[in-house]
């Protein structure tokens, strides 16, 4: 009987061998993919096992971490807290135990949790010395004063958004959106508390859609603020040579190839108006015709140089603003005054103002200044980067002088800052909405400030969408310009 016994011994050996091979397969070959599978709860447990690093504004953290406590068993040890969460939500996004992370919290998650590859050496060191893993910090470019001014101003007006940029570097200074939400209300993992808070904020339960980041993700028709782009295109492509020469602009202006007349808002002096006069009183007729004279190809080229038709990553993704690529001549005229399909994010319009303020050079917008290791060593520093040059220095200065006229004695007088050495240039906009303007328009204002040393510390775009306001009251100059002024003033004051 010994021969079959020996064979059975081999058979049993093979069974054990098969188990050993399988074990090597799942614990060695596949180990990493199983371990890092996002559905593997250990990934989330590790994420919340140590206090997250912080997001920092002006040297102060705007986030924090606290030990999770509650009646139910919760395997996530720490949860996120926010200071002035609603004000900063468009910057931070959220990091919730139950609902994951978005925006800055998600993009820089590796640094904030300490799992980033660049922190590998440190992590290994911590493991050896028995220290708990720590997260690094994300230092933003934002200005607390500007953000506060933007958020306060918007709260007074209801719905809207503000984006402010430092034109010389592209650093984002303010990014506000209202109505907003406090991400700390659903940072935890409790079905009752956090789940309910989350449900209430969803768009289907809250028509105001508080979780929308309007400054980066909402695209609005820009209305007359887009005339700055058209003016830049006209100057760049030689259709107009200076601010004060008369243009060939009939009044009324019939859209080419049609019998439709393009109208101005009110009875304003637009016949053959100069570029300066046309922007000061916001002539639809002049800029409609200018757009057609520039031609759709050249209009598109300039718009694209300003950043249109492309998503921006700051590093949060910003929706692509739209300047239509396919249009006939009347549509070109309408698009050139910010109507038809033209639509932009507030960030995009701030970029337009910043390019003009920075003598024609558009800097790439960014909001993360640097990433810090837990030891505060700098892991990555963002250097300002030139994005494009939508207009020449000479043309930019012509446009600056025109935009300054708008604020000095045009539609934008509400944005004036009465301080010595500060010059403000801007443009109002009132974007019509709905069939035959049946809905309340959006009030826009874009502007920049210059100091007497020639530097330009801030460019800002403000949009207010207030459905309850009286239609006549909505105008960029009335609702949006004061907010822009406060933001610019906050930046200038904080620089002193």
């Amino acid at each position: 009987m010994n021969k079959p016994l020996r064979r059975i011994a081999i058979f049993c050996g093979l069974l054990v061998l098969a188990l050993l091979i399988r074990d090597n397969w799942i614990q060695y070959v596949q180990a990493d993919s199983l371990k890092d599978d996002t559905k593997n709860r250990r990934v989330a447990i590790a994420r919340y096992a140590t206090p997250r690093g912080d997001i920092i504004v002006d040297g102060e953290p705007i986030t924090g971490s606290t030990k999770t406590n509650g009646d139910d068993f919760n395997d996530f040890e720490y949860k996120r807290t926010y200071k002035d969460g609603a004000m900063w939500a468009p910057v931070t996004g959220y990091a919730s135990q139950a609902f994951g992370a978005t925006q800055l919290e998600s993009i820089e998650d590796g640094i904030l949790t300490g799992n980033d590859d660049r922190l590998f050496f440190r992590r290994t060191l911590d493991m050896i010395t028995g220290k708990k893993q720590e997260g690094g910090n994300v230092v933003t470019t934002l200005s607390a004063a500007a953000q506060k001014a933007a958020y306060k101003g918007l709260l007074k007006q209801g719905k809207g958004a503000v984006a402010a940029i430092d034109p010389e570097t592209g650093a984002i200074l303010a990014l506000a959106s209202t109505p907003s939400y406090d991400p700390s209300t659903f940072a935890g993992n409790s079905t009752k508390v956090d789940g309910e808070a989350w449900t209430k904020l969803q768009k289907k339960n809250n028509p105001d859609d508080p979780m929308q980041n309007r400054a980066l993700r909402e695209i609005y028709p820009p209305g007359s603020t887009f005339k700055v782009v058209t003016a830049a295109a006209a100057l760049e492509h030689g259709v107009v040579d200076s601010a004060d020469e008369k243009t060939d602009s009939p009044l009324p202006y019939t859209l080419p190839d049609t019998t439709t007349e393009l109208k101005n808002e009110g009875n304003i002096p637009c016949k053959n108006a100069t570029l300066r006069e046309a922007l000061r009183v916001s002539c639809n007729t002049v800029f409609g015709k200018l757009g057609v004279d520039v031609g759709k190809e050249d209009m598109l080229e300039t718009a694209k140089k300003f950043g249109f038709n492309e998503e921006q990553f700051v590093p949060i993704r910003s929706s692509a603003s739209i300047f239509p690529e396919k249009m006939d001549r009347p549509q070109t005229a309408l698009s050139s005054i910010g109507q038809f399909e033209t639509a932009t994010t507030p960030l995009q319009m701030a970029m337009v103002a910043s390019a003009v303020a920075n003598d024609g050079t558009l800097m790439k917008p960014y909001m993360v200044d640097k990433l810090q290791a837990p030891s505060l060593d700098v892991i990555e520093q963002t250097d300002p980067e030139k994005m494009s040059e939508p207009l020449s220095e000479k043309n930019a200065q012509i446009l600056q002088s025109i935009m300054e006229t708008v604020v000095e004695k045009g539609t934008g007088t509400n944005a004036q800052i009465n301080e010595s050495g500060v010059t403000v240039g801007g443009k109002t906009g009132t974007a019509q909405r709905g069939v035959d303007n049946s809905e309340n328009p959006y009030a826009w204002f874009i502007s920049y400030a210059k100091l007497d040393d020639g530097s330009s510390p801030v460019a800002v775009a403000v949009v207010v969408e207030d459905e309850s306001a009286n239609r006549d009251d909505i105008s960029g100059g009335g609702l949006a310009a004061p907010i822009a002024r406060d933001v610019m003033k906050a930046v200038i004051d904080s620089k002193k």
């Binding site: 371990k35 559905k39 068993f73």
Partner: protein, 478 residues
């Protein structure tokens, strides 16, 4: 003259056995390791979870040491020539099993479940009962051949044990499998005991019938076909296995019994054709049952695509479980060296984390290295069992030893393979490691029987009886 040569032949045949070392001291030394390692692991868990050495460390160490000591003394006294590895291996597996069960008792996640009970104290009690049964086997079973007398009683006993879970009011249906019975508040898994009783029956039966099964056969296409009437018993066992599968929906037990029978049949008859027959029949049975039994189908689905099964269970679809995927995640997250005892999250598996799925905790906390060590320990137990079968001098002992070791190997393969996703999951437990009274008690009895057989096998042959003829030759001098 002739008688003189006879005597000398006797002497040469027993020379090999004379002076065979008993190896009891080796066993004692190994047992020290088998007790110290779990005690160290226990302290390790306590430090990892509560930052302090667990208060029960001393009593646990003494308890395990006592069990091992009693086992050793009984072996020394009643089975002095027994294999020295079996007792330390079983003690070590039982000991670290207890530690990991205690570790899972500390899990807040498991404590939150409404069905939570502290398992470690009970398992310690079961282990003591198991060692007690081990002692009883060694003390009262002086010679394993005695069991041969109970061949047919064993058959009846095994059938009763197997059918008990189907008795209304006694049997329990736990998550689709009817393999438990409930008596006076205790749940018992009769299948674990049936394993041993059936091995006794098969060994006794095959020893008697082996010649008929082996020789009376016709040759057909290169293989020996058994006669129809000899085919009877294998068909009966096959049908019983199928019935277990259908009525108790227990793939593991069914496979285990049938596999054990085929192994013993092959060893008894030395005919490869039985293996071929066995495989064909089990394949036919498994496929046949799977075609209509939804419980089996679902297990196969979960094996083929555990992720889909996980997602269905997350969506709350009834009858799906995330456990297979959770176990795989536990293994994967453990990696090569593991997280360290007490520092993993294998409790995410939830129900049965400390029984059917206990290997996943080893995988996560002790890593690939730990699981390979565990598997090799099981492999060692099996190979010591096979060695015992090889060394046994009587066919009944050979058959019983190979039956028990083969069943043990199959059980380890079926459970570990199921938890690691190598084969579909079945409801069985890792011998000695897993929480479960029936399993640990039955497996101690199994080790007891193997030790008894190995003692008989390795015992030096008794000195030849004085030959009266030899006396005579001595007297007559030339």
């Amino acid at each position: 003259m002739s008688s003189t040569s006879n005597t000398s032949t006797h002497h040469t045949s027993t020379i090999g056995s004379i002076g065979t070392p008993s190896r009891r001291n080796t066993e004692l030394a190994l047992l020290v390791f088998a007790v110290v390692i779990p005690v160290f692991a226990y302290a390790n868990v306590g430090l990892a979870i509560n930052d302090s050495v667990p208060p029960g460390l001393l009593s646990y160490g003494l308890g395990l040491g006592l069990l091992a000591g009693v086992g050793h003394i009984v072996v020394r006294k009643f089975a002095p020539y027994a294999d020295p590895l079996l007792l330390p291996l079983a003690t070590l597996l039982n000991g670290i099993g207890l530690v990991v069960i205690w570790r899972l008792d500390q899990s807040k996640r498991l404590q939150a479940a409404s069905t939570f009970v502290e398992a470690a104290p009970r398992q310690l009690l079961y282990s003591a009962l198991g060692v007690a049964l081990f002692v009883i086997v060694l003390v009262f079973l002086k010679d394993h051949r005695v069991l041969q007398r109970y061949t047919y009683i064993s058959m009846v006993g095994a059938l009763i044990l197997l059918l008990l879970p189907l008795v209304p009011g006694l049997g329990l249906n736990v998550f689709g499998a009817r393999i438990w019975i409930s008596i006076a508040g205790f749940t018992i898994q009769p299948g674990e005991f049936a394993k041993i009783v059936l091995a006794i029956f098969f060994a006794g039966y095959l020893m008697v019938k082996r010649d008929a099964l082996a020789l009376a056969s016709r040759r057909f296409m290169g293989i020996y076909l058994p006669r129809g009437r000899d085919l009877g018993p294998i068909i009966v066992v096959w049908i019983i296995s199928i019935l277990i599968l259908v009525f108790e929906t227990d793939l593991g037990t069914s496979l285990l019994f049938f596999g054990m029978f085929v192994i013993m049949l092959y060893v008894a008859t030395e005919r490869t054709s039985w293996i071929v027959f066995g495989m064909l029949m089990s394949a036919a049975g498994a496929v046949g049952v799977a075609s209509f039994e939804s419980h089996v189908q679902q297990r196969v689905q979960a094996w083929l695509d555990p992720m889909r099964e996980y997602e269905l269970s997350q969506q709350g679809v009834i009858g799906h479980t995330e456990q297979s995927m959770q176990a795989l995640w536990a293994f994967g997250s453990g990696g090569t060296l593991g997280t360290g005892l007490g520092q993993g999250n294998s409790d995410l598996i939830g129900f049965a984390a400390n029984s059917d799925f206990i290997l996943a905790t080893f995988g996560e906390e002790l890593g690939l290295a730990g699981v390979m060590a565990i598997l090799l320990m099981y492999g060692l137990i099996v190979e010591r069992g096979v060695r015992t079968a090889l060394a046994a001098r009587d066919p009944f002992g050979k058959l019983l030893a190979i039956g028990l070791s083969g069943a043990f190997a199959l059980q380890v393969f079926v459970v570990a393979g199921g938890v690691m996703g190598l084969i579909p999951l079945t409801g069985m437990t890792m011998p000695f490691l897993a929480y479960g009274g029936s399993s640990v008690i039955a497996n101690w009895a199994l080790i007891g029987i193997l030790i008894r057989i190995s003692d008989t096998a390795r015992r030096p042959a008794p000195a030849p009886a004085p030959n009266p003829d030899a006396e005579m030759t001595q007297v007559v001098r030339p």
